[in-house]
Amino acid sequence: MTDHLLEVRNLSVDFDTVRGPVHAVRDVSWHLDRGECLAILGESGSGKSVSASAIMNLIDCPPGRIVSGEILFEGRDLLRASNEERRRLNGKRIAMIFQDPLSHLNPVYTVGAQIAEIMTAHGTAKAQARARTLELMNRVGIPEADDKIDAYPHQFSGGQRQRLMIAMALAMKPDILIADEPTTALDVTVQAQILALLEELQAETGMGLLLITHDLGVVAEIADRVVVMNGGRIVETGDAEQVYHNPTHPYTQKLIGAVPGTGEMATPLTATKPLLEVRNFGKDFGGFAALDQASFELFAGETVAIVGESGSGKSTLAKCLLRLIEPTTGEALYDGRDLVTMGDRDLYRMRRDIQMVFQDPTQSLNPRMTVGQIIGEAFAIHPDILAKDKRPARIRELLERVGLEADHIHRHPHQFSGGQRQRIAIARALALEPKILVCDEAVSALDVSIQAQVIALLEEIQNDLGLSYLFIAHDLPLVRDFAHRVIVMKDGRIVEQGPVRQIFDAPHEEYTRNLLASSLHPDPKVQAERRAARQEVTA
């Protein structure tokens, strides 16, 4: 039993709240061996991060309380060790990297100093620590490490910051590396690079890698074994490939079924007259072209997906269309009239026809208003839609339309889950009876299974009401099942556009091919093939 590098046995953790104890994890057991990659897979609130926090002594007690269980590291129970003893293990033998590298790097120290600090804190001489820092920065692939060692965190890109975090974690050659959603905040191409780096480093040092993730694709790419968690319990555990192909627990089956990118692709509509015609859109921010010569068309009842990595100008395009910012050049013809040069009065009328659903429903709903007020605001702004006495009934109807209950009308946004909030945002947009709905990363902040539900809702609404969607996303598989046509953007320009089949099956552009090769497939077998293909592309 003690030959595992790390073993968690029957761990239960409670959090005391005013409304009584919350069982964050219950009776969780798993183990990690040397040279192995174990993935803990779960959606938000499943308790997947709690056991890792317990290992690192990061649970705040109170309100947290470790009810039972033991964590054995080389046969020693960490939960019974003194804080001083655990501090000596943390960073040295067990290291951790986090989701958001920017908030875990101190902005006022140089990165070199921060990496070296780990080593000096564990008793390495200063000069030696600096030499090792340089070596590590080279190893994790920071270009010109000699110069960059004295640079500050803000001077690095998101992917580079994650590389620096990895360098920091590896400083003391740990036996175990815990990675908590290490690539969630990164673009797909960068994500592939970081995962490849982690895999290489693991092979090199023989450490055990514990990966916490919500993404089946990440599991398929890197994990040997997987532990699936739901509601604080382990529902399934086993070999990654076997769990994907023969899931035994209904929750795992549901999770795998919800993963986008495996369904039928849609055939483009055969309409002739475009509803919206965008010509040569451009936006300069002080000489920097965030958007350059973008032209496309949108037909009635159609879904056009705009895909691109961060900084590709896809959100700028949406904001220009809705006149949240003014485009520098170009025109957008809607119903034969140019949206860009439209006066205030016409713009106000146009707002009814073109609506938007934002990325983060937590921020796009005013926290101080009730759901009824939020949706009712549409009628307050455009009083001619509906007579005053019919509005409450209509709001209830809209709530039911998006799959909520009519009685939710008196609640506030914080009383809903993320997916429900996005439904409220959709109901608000529908209240104006629009023709076009712009969805800016509308499902990116949601869990996979919730994502699938919201997409299904959007599809249903489209079928019923004949809406057109301009669907902005960074996730290619998501778009594959949903869009009629796809536009690929990079550095403010449209790289390629065409029917969804053409983009996915026969992409013309190098960049599109690279983007497709970088996106992760949930099937470990397919993913292994893709990895081989990617290595060919990059070689």
Binding site: V18, R19, L322, L324, L347, Y348, R351, R352, Q355, M356, F358, Q359, D360, Q363, S364, L365, N366, P367, R368, M369, T370, E377, A378, A380, I381, H382, K388, D389, P392, A393, R396, D407, H410, H412, H414, A425, R428, L432
Partner: protein, 313 residues
């Protein structure tokens, strides 16, 4: 009216929230400190309105035998429970009478500066760059000019009276609200729900009133309650310089400064009016803290959970 009523009743056949005043009172009762604070403030407001009417004569009648009479001595009557001042006037009566002037100056100055400062801050934060520049530079001018000096000059020219004192104090405190509200507005206007309202075609007026002001208001109200004490003391220093409220008119601040020469021999002269200032500000502060929680839908449960606990006890 009846049409609206019927619309509401048909709209809510299943669930009807209890009337707003009852939930508010219930939430106040659950926070005992805030409840006590509200009671104290009610007493202060009562004194401010009716005090001079009831105790004007007693408070100004001199009695040289009762000079600096010590507190807690009932032999001179209950009005002397807090002692007498340097001219033998009962301190309790004087504090009650003084509350009117004190509240008029402090509440007036704070309310004026809060309203004007917030209004200008909203304009500076949400409209054009030019407007913002003009307003902010004006605020800088006021800030860089010593407020006491400004008050001295203005009150030297104008007649010292409650009204003028309010104007002077309000002007010197405007920049605080202005800067805070502008800074908050600049942050809130970038939030997504503001953009969502823009996309729906909401007017600027609507966005400011419905989406920005409710988010900014709690911070400003908290600052205002803290500023209450500052304004009371500023008023007393102006009175001390002889350009504020002049005897025989009285304020708490003036009473504190009048008692200062006797601090070593008769501490109660300054202590009781000082306590009144502290209690009032503290109450305002507690109440604003409660209000902050009660007005925030995502925090309100803190005041509602206690209800269930209290029931169980």
């Amino acid at each position: 009216m009846s049409q609206i009523d019927s619309a509401i009743t048909t709209a809510n056949p299943i669930y009807k929230p209890p009337p707003a005043w009852r939930t508010t009172l219930g939430m106040l009762w659950r926070d005992k400190f805030a409840f006590a604070a509200a009671c104290i403030l009610l007493v202060v407001i009562f004194c401010a309105i009716f005090g001079p009417m009831l105790f004007e004569d007693v408070a100004t009648r001199q009695n040289l035998r009762g000079r600096n009479a010590p507190p807690f001595d009932l032999s001179r009557g209950w009005l002397f429970i807090l002692g007498g001042d340097q001219l033998g006037r009962p301190l309790l009566a004087r504090i009650i009478v003084a509350s009117q002037n004190t509240m008029a100056v402090a509440a007036g100055a704070v309310a004026c500066s809060l309203l004007i400062g917030t209004g200008l801050g909203l304009i500076a934060g949400y409209t054009t760059k030019t407007a913002s520049q003009v307003i902010m530079r004006l605020a800088d001018v006021i800030m860089s000019f010593p407020s006491l000096l400004l008050a001295v000059i203005v009150l030297y020219v104008l007649e010292p009276s409650v009204g003028n004192l309010v104007i002077v104090l309000a002007i010197t405190r405007i920049p605080i609200y202005l800067r805070t509200s502008r800074a908050e507005v600049l942050e809130v206007r970038e939030r997504m729900f503001v953009q969502a309202a823009q996309v729906m075609g909401a007017s600027t007026k609507r966005i400011v009133a419905r989406h920005i002001l409710p988010v900014v208001a709690p911070t400003l109200i908290t600052i205002a309650t803290l500023d209450f004490a500052f304004v009371m003391l500023a008023e007393s220093s102006l009175s001390f310089l002889g350009i504020g409220i002049q005897p025989p008119e009285i304020t708490w601040g003036l009473m504190v400064s009048q008692g200062r020469p006797y601090l070593t021999s008769a501490w109660w002269l300054s202590f009781w009016p000082g306590l009144a200032i502290i209690l009032t500000t503290l109450s305002l502060n507690l109440l604003s803290g409660w209000m902050r929680t009660a007005l925030d839908p995502s925090q309100r449960w803190r005041l509602e959970v206690n209800k269930e606990k209290a029931k169980n006890d």
